[in-house]
Amino acid sequence: MGTRAMTRLSSSFAKGRPTFVAFITAGDGDTAANLDALVEGGADVIELGMPFTDPMADGPAIQAANLRSLGAGTTTADVFAIAAAFRQRHPQVPLVLMGYANPMVRRGPEWFAAECARAGVDGVICVDIPPEEDDALGPALRAEGIAPIRLATPTTDARRLPKVLEGSSGFLYYVSVAGITGLQQAATASIAEAVARLKAATDLPVAVGFGVRTPEQAAAIAAHADGVVVGSALVELVGKHGSHAPAHLRELTAALAQAVHGAHQPA
């Protein structure tokens, strides 16, 4: 089942060094050029945000990116076209869609999963479908071999964790702070402890995101995790530089990727 997609994701986490995951919002600026810049800068995994009118879990930077994208008329078909074209240009780079339930289930979960498969999407992160509502999307994704990537948070206690892990694949996304994207930053020590707890419970790679902005922070986290996700800091560059964003994205991605790849992992 879904071996190609699974292989792309798992092999990117099996390079013997931490993985750098870069997020931008689809349809915000010249997304193809921006995505190419992320790959050129050294991103291992691409997380492509599906724009939504009501991004409840996002801070100001990604909210603004959602509105810019929708304001430019981005449709769900456009998001899949962006993903499919990316897959043509970069056959080996894993691409994960991140977004909210309503645009994903609007035409039915089977339709969405089939489109993901056709576009070469490897995994899906849906912010507002917790394991309790897995039926809304999970079975359809699994049937198409698309990884449902779940989130664990500081409030996910030991009692709940098995439920979160059950049926999730690709990697586990640890949300480092109880909060929205882009603003606060968690202490490295608390992240290290949480990641250790998660890794004791699963064989899935654990990537850490929310509030990571600088190469220094990324390196500190990468010393303890299998991957680091940066979103708001990249999205802000798109908002600020518009059509000149690719050069800036390449530069920041290179610094972040280098910091992550070179992070010292305790044995």
Binding site: L70, M104, D128, E132, R150, T156
Partner: protein
Amino acid sequence: MNQTTPNSFRTMPDERGHFGDYGGRYVAETLMPLVLDLEREYRAAQADPAFQAQFDDLLEHYVGRPSPLYFAERLTEALRVGSPEGRGAQVWFKRDELNHTGAHKINNCIGQILLAMRMGKTRIIAETGAGQHGVATATVCARFGLPCVIYMGATDVARQQPNVFRMKLLGAEVIPVTSGAATLKDAMNEGLRDWVANVHDTFYIIGTAAGPHPYPELVRDFQSVIGKEARAQMLARIGRLPDLLVAAIGGGSNALGLFHPFLDDPEVKMLGVEAAGYGLDGDQHAASLLGGFPGVLHGNRTYLLQNEDGQITEGHSISAGLDYPGIGPEHAWLKDMGRVEYTAITDQEALDAFQLLCRTEGIIPALEPSHAIAAVAKRAKEMDRDRIILANLCGRGDKDIFTVAEHLGVQM
């Protein structure tokens, strides 16, 4: 739809918080443990006679319940003029506009703040559209000495200044929300953002029978005092149940509060009234059930105003309290089951009904129940004179006089 009729309409939701295909707990993982905690605490409160006693005591002595059941004699007569021979049902009102703070919203706020305190939460947040739920929340926070933050769309802040000032007088912090379209749904997004960042100490008092389970259930339960009283009052006054219940629907809490205790009385018909704004044929309305499609927003699966890509669209209603693109999931289920009928009333029809009630009964209604009154006026003319309509007069119109003046071309 093709579901079979259940033995009872009053056993929902199921243990996962689903009302048939609707409801559920579509929240970010950060909130999930909290939502589960809330459910546990609510079950404990339901089983605790002390909780119920404190709730009842506050409703009686602080809110002013029971609210009167009132036969609107002159409105009934006015509607008979021009009705076909023998038609013109008797119109009765459940007078929840006489509650402290002027609407039904306070019933729910009393229940939720008691739950918040049981859970040891020390900070309260809420969203508000018209400001009625914000005022009711600020009121109970003042009453119990808890800090209160109210999120309100910047557009609504501008058009509901008196309620903004009321909230501030009551000690609440009112945060204007400029994201999105700066109305109720954006205020709700911002409330959810605050909540995920402050889960340890904060309780979110949701203002209608929507959101993640168990909110739709507990809001309905707290508001059901309306229907329980009305049912007993009707039996005491005239020895029978009404033929038709009517209530306005924003998120659906006052309607469920009235309907729920009657759901298993098959002889009682029910009519929920959505806001048709400028008309259902365009997109300037707030009728999620009649003009929307099922989807997922703000923690629950329900009917939503949305486009073909699942992007939420902005509705319109003259009434800020009905101007929301979703609806509580229990209504979505009741619609599909056919137990409740739903209709919609335009801005203009609501304005006309507003003035009709002022002049026939000496009651200035809020614009929300004015939608219900407009629907009552239509139905009463089609029903025999011995039939009884009971409508929920869920709010008073003090907050709306500026809006109404503007529409009537009056300078204040």
